[in-house]
Amino acid sequence: MFWAFRCATYFVLACATFIFLNIAIKGSHTVFTSRAPFINVTFLTQPPQTLYVFDYNGKKMELSDREFRKWKETHTEDVEATSIAYSAGGIWPCIVGTTLLVVGSMIVALFIGISAAIYLSEYSRETRFIRFMRVAILNLAGVPSIVFGLFGFGLFVIFFGWNVSLIAGWFTLGLMILPAIITASEESLRAVPQGLREGSLALGATMWQTIRKNVLPYALPGILTSSVLGIARVAGETAPIMFTAAYAMRDEMPWQVPKWTDFFFQGVMALPYHIYVVSSKIPQNEYTERVQYGAAFVFLVLVMLIALTSIVLRERHRRRLSW
């Protein structure tokens, strides 16, 4: 029996190692280059382009859309080129779009989540209604992300008329991680010793003064650290944004808008959605594989960095606040 348990554990480890190594090895072919500066700058800083592949004088040419047009100006011969969507250029707009989605949705989720947590842990009394509310919040955490996507599509995109836009994505993603934020915030608020509240109230502070000056400042580091894990989730979800915020392809960068209000009402490209598109919406071949693994690798590194930040912040915060 012992061996069965041991094998199960090793099996999990083997799977994880295989996935990571597979993505890392194949992805690093795209992201790193053998020549200086050793990092594929184009891949990280350019928008995706269509790749053209053709034979020319017995040589195999791989040119991006722009390069191909320039090449045609100097060469008059008619070549039969195969075009492969998204396989040239890079994933820069996706990185930007994901960043914007994460920042916005975290602001939305933290604002609503911390407010709700303050109400639940500081003001509300343990009535039946509040218990019901807690169960409802926990259940919200179990709702599949695609359902959040549909909900966001129905409410924000259609009913509010926001169309496929950043702001619709923010609210959809924000609602999705709300339960996690509320739970984490409540825990952090409860971890603040009761003595600090009583001490403050006994000096004639109102409830709100006590919370603002003597509870929230000590709970905030904890709230923010646990929220970093929420960031990883927000960055990773495809389902909630595919109807609400993500475009498969967009030429303008998010800051290229006619007036600033349009900023909120534009769709963006996003990393997880881009991976989904390049691996399921276009014919597969060796060229698309490069983008798939390259994007997946960059994505994995980003999420790992975020998780690492969370751990470092938590350790630092644990050392600083000890009562």
Binding site: R125, E126, P193, G195, L196, R197, E198, G199, S200, L201, A202, L203, G204, A205, T206, Q209, K213, N214, Y218, L321, W323
Partner: protein, 281 residues
């Protein structure tokens, strides 16, 4: 250095309550500060105080003694309505009057009440801020912004709590770096800063070593010249040393209340005598 000069000016104000006290002594009829009348108190359906009545005189130390769970702390927390925070806790009958005003009357502002009735807790609870900010906290939330006034109050309160000489060079250090006894005196200083009339102390020395305890006791003795002090203690000797009046509680009832000297030498009730001599509790 500037604020040191300023601080010595309000000294006459400090002396004022003392003259008031000597006047009270002359007339031999101490002014009653806190008047508890037929108080019943319950947590949910569990009644913890039964018909408690006692009058605590101003500028004196009243000690509550009794075995654990007898309701001393509950009564203490009724005086600044700290029990309001606990779900289902309520006064079912009777009233507490502070300076003649029913503190549970709807028109009484609980924030104002707590400003007048300071509290020191069993477990010292300095805020994780600097020593200076700990003392300034009460003033800042009361809307005081003038730096000079806060500086003045910080020094006055720290002197009042006999802590000034120990911390004057590190007012900006974190209060959590102080020793246990210093932390408790800081909490007393913090309570003094908002100039209350009454100070409630819930076993202020229970977590302290004998030397720190002696310092706090000495401090209580000095503070009673200006403040009405109500303290809960588990330590019989301490009650005997520091208090002018002692109330003995048992199972939520006030068994005996009187001058400390009398309670300790010649108690009226057998139960009191048994408890004080250590036969139970």
């Amino acid at each position: 250095m500037v604020n040191v000069v300023e601080v010595h000016q309000p000294m006459p104000e400090q002396a004022l309550p003392q003259t008031k006290q000597s006047a009270a002594e002359q007339t031999e009829a101490p002014e009653i500060m806190i008047d508890v009348r037929d108080l019943d108190f319950a947590y949910g359906n569990h009644q913890v105080l039964h018909k408690v009545s006692l009058e605590m005189p101003a500028q004196a130390v009243t000690a509550f003694i009794g075995p654990s769970g007898c309701g001393k702390t509950t009564l203490l927390r009724c005086i600044n309505r700290m029990n309001d925070l606990i779900d289902g806790a309520r006064i079912t009958q009777g009233a507490i009057r502070l300076d003649g005003v029913d503190i549970n009357a709807p028109e009484v502002d609980v924030v104002d009440l707590r400003r007048r009735v300071g509290m020191v807790f069993q477990k010292s609870n300095p805020f994780p801020k600097s020593i200076y900010e700990n003392i300034a906290y009460g003033l800042r939330i009361a809307g005081v912004q003038k730096r000079s006034r806060i500086d003045e109050a910080v020094e006055k309160s720290l002197r009042g709590a006999a802590l000034w000489s120990e911390v004057k060079d590190r007012l900006n250090a974190n209060a959590l770096g102080l020793s246990g006894g210093q932390q408790q005196r800081l909490c007393i200083a913090r309570a003094l800063a908002v100039e209350p009339q009454v100070i409630l102390m819930d076993e202020p020395c229970s977590a302290l070593d004998p030397i720190a305890t002696a310092k706090i006791e000495e401090l209580i003795h000095e503070l009673k010249a200006q403040y009405t002090i109500v303290t809960v203690t588990h330590n019989m000797q301490q009650a005997g040393r520091i208090s002018d009046h002692t109330a003995f509680f048992y199972l939520g009832r006030l068994v005996e209340f009187g001058a400390t000297a009398k309670i300790f030498t010649n108690p009226r009730e057998k139960q009191t005598e048994d408890y004080i001599t250590g036969r139970f509790g």
